[in-house]
Subunit: 381 residues, 2 copies
């Protein structure tokens, strides 16, 4: 028997059994009444969890497709955009805008650091921008940006704010309407407890206005085509039915839990993970004030590569992630977003202890686990 796998990467994330089962629902007519009811329920649930009265569109695509949709539906070639990035996924957002001919100014912060809202404000003072592109949670470094403050800075100047919320949504608060986020992009394989294959895109009033003027070419990801079909609870092309069957079940679970409880759950496992890792003498990578509730990025012990550590963890059945981009050889990452339990965290830390010992970086067995347990115990007091 292969080791029973425990998936602890920041997406794809574990999917609850009832959601997995729903994926196997037999096909139906995507132009019939059962489908219309399915789509209606999904959109209503998404709007609640996006905290928006605006539209939420579902595209059959990875989150990267949602980011492309955000850019091409609101901007024109030559439009000036300020692109705020703190890692690999931030860079991708800017690359997309460049690919479609926008004039992109990049404001990059060092990997591991968060974006400084004051620096964003200063950059916005230097020239006229149409839009600001920002990543809420940077999956490559485990840093969560202070989106609320950044959004305020952008709002004060009346600019369009396009947000990559793929790995932040449901794990931390993202008040789409209240903070003035004009477009927010989510991805099904993150805290939504779903497999990859859908991207969710909220579109507020100002984004619709921008859409009317936006001349970036688009077809598949066009907001207006999607909204027009949605008026009849349909889609402009065949929807990815299995993922929608799963989405309905996942949304029911998430709405029953509620957003506040979901944020607290993510904070709890994140705090325990950090406590456990630090108790083992390992160094956290993300700046202390902006550590992500979705994942924890860690420097491996001296002389051990992330690859070695991950392979050894994998042999024990725990699948963790390595570094990305220029951090490939410098980080490992433990995902704890979505359907992750407290005991999953304890098991992961226990496996990490055994692994470090096996790799000749001995740690006292149980130390990391105990630190995490203490955190959980304190939380439940």
């Amino acid at each position: 028997l292969h080791p029973k796998p425990l998936l602890m990467i920041p997406g794809p994330t574990p999917v609850p059994a009832e959601v997995l089962q729903a994926l196997s629902t037999p096909m139906m007519n995507h132009r019939g009444p059962e489908y219309q009811a399915l789509q209606r329920e999904c959109i209503a649930g998404l709007k609640q969890l996006f905290q928006t009265e605006g539209d939420v569109l579902i595209f059959p695509a990875a989150g990267t497709g949602g980011l492309e949709a955000a850019v091409t539906n609101t901007l024109s070639p030559g439009d000036a955009a300020l692109h705020v990035t703190v890692g690999v996924f931030g860079e991708r957002f800017g690359d997309i805008a460049r690919a479609f001919g926008c004039e992109v100014t990049t404001l990059a912060f060092p990997y591991g650091q968060a974006a400084d809202p004051d620096a964003v404000a200063r950059a916005l003072g230097e020239r006229d921008y149409k839009a600001v592109l920002v990543t809420h949670n940077e999956t490559s470094t485990g840093v969560t940006n202070d989106l609320e403050t950044i959004a305020r800075v952008v709002q004060e100047r009346g600019l369009l704010l396009l947000v990559d919320g793929i790995s932040s949504m449901l794990a931390t608060d993202l008040q789409t309407d209240h903070w003035g986020c004009d477009v927010v992009v989510g991805g099904s394989q993150k805290a939504w407890m779903l497999p990859p294959g859908l991207t969710f895109v909220s579109v507020g009033d100002r984004a619709w206005e921008a859409h009317g003027r936006a001349r970036c070419p688009r077809f598949y990801f066009d907001f207006a085509k999607m909204r027009k079909s949605m008026e009849r609870d349909q889609t402009p092309y065949t929807p990815a039915l299995p993922l929608l069957f799963g989405l309905r079940v996942a949304l029911r679970l998430l709405l029953e839990e509620g957003l506040t409880a979901s944020f607290a759950r993510h904070q709890r496992v994140a705090r325990a993970t950090r406590a456990g890792v630090q108790a083992l003498g390992l160094e956290l990578f993300a700046a202390e004030s902006h550590r992500s509730p979705s994942l924890t990025s860690v420097r491996p012990p001296e002389g051990i590569t992330p690859r070695q550590l991950r392979a050894a963890m994998r042999e024990r059945g725990v699948v963790i992630a390595g570094g990305q981009g220029k951090m490939e050889d410098q980080l490992f990452r433990i995902g704890h977003l979505g359907y992750v339990s407290e005991i999953d965290i304890l098991a992961t830390l226990a496996a990490l202890e055994l692994t470090l010992n096996a790799l000749d970086r001995p740690v006292p067995l149980g130390t990391g686990v105990a630190a995490a347990q203490a955190m959980f115990a304190a939380d439940s007091e």
Copy 2:
């Protein structure tokens, strides 16, 4: 109990139980070795069924996304393209090229007719084109174009040929390399026996050359980014895992059957469907010489709308499709591509007979069924 549904629309098509079950496979790391083996097997199978030595790329998207990829990866704004259309999906292909700034000349044939290769040849003589866009099988009318001859005409002029093979592949022969089809687009929810959510795109050598010069903006659907990741059996963004789990199982079934048997199977059910419908005195819509093996388009009896007919069929548990676009009120369509059996056809015809009688358009019960049975009996002699 609601009526046990029999899905007879031209996509989404019925999915075999073992494929549906595979969709529920727990998530895995899409950067790990198990995923790499999965992707390798899927690509190898797709290449066989695409009849190509070139690349086949998998994008998490509907088929419309694959059509957009075909255009944006091979053409530049201002490029002249001849767009051959015989229906709604043909029109969409041209709309995509226009949306990205290509100079599109449309050669449209009447709904129900096939494209005339001689007319294509004449049109190509009238000006310099870079590419020809053509739909192999038009799902809105039930017409299959003579792609082999059209491809020869295009090849003689050394032009690029972009083919929408979404509803034709596996139902009828499409010799990607041998006929010189530079890009062919497939969609998972058709004869692949899979749910919607994936588009498959073959890219031949000449298409790669064109890609090097193509300046249409693109990011999500970029061929080169996908190929680069595929060199490591990975993808540039998270793949739609459930559909790939299903694809592996469906490909094994399809490869075991073989292409020739698949084509014959589709011809058999198509012939029987047509015989049955005609025996009931109903008029087939598609030109006799180019009737589709994937679906059958039928004019409803005088005074009955497709909507009425479909609603009544639905009450008996048989889900058929209506007309599309300007044919909405003039056609109903019976899908018979993918996982459809001979007895599914007989059941559909039996339900149609009951329905016509219930709608006061009496037919002798069993007549359509008997005509189809006779066709099956003759086929198996």
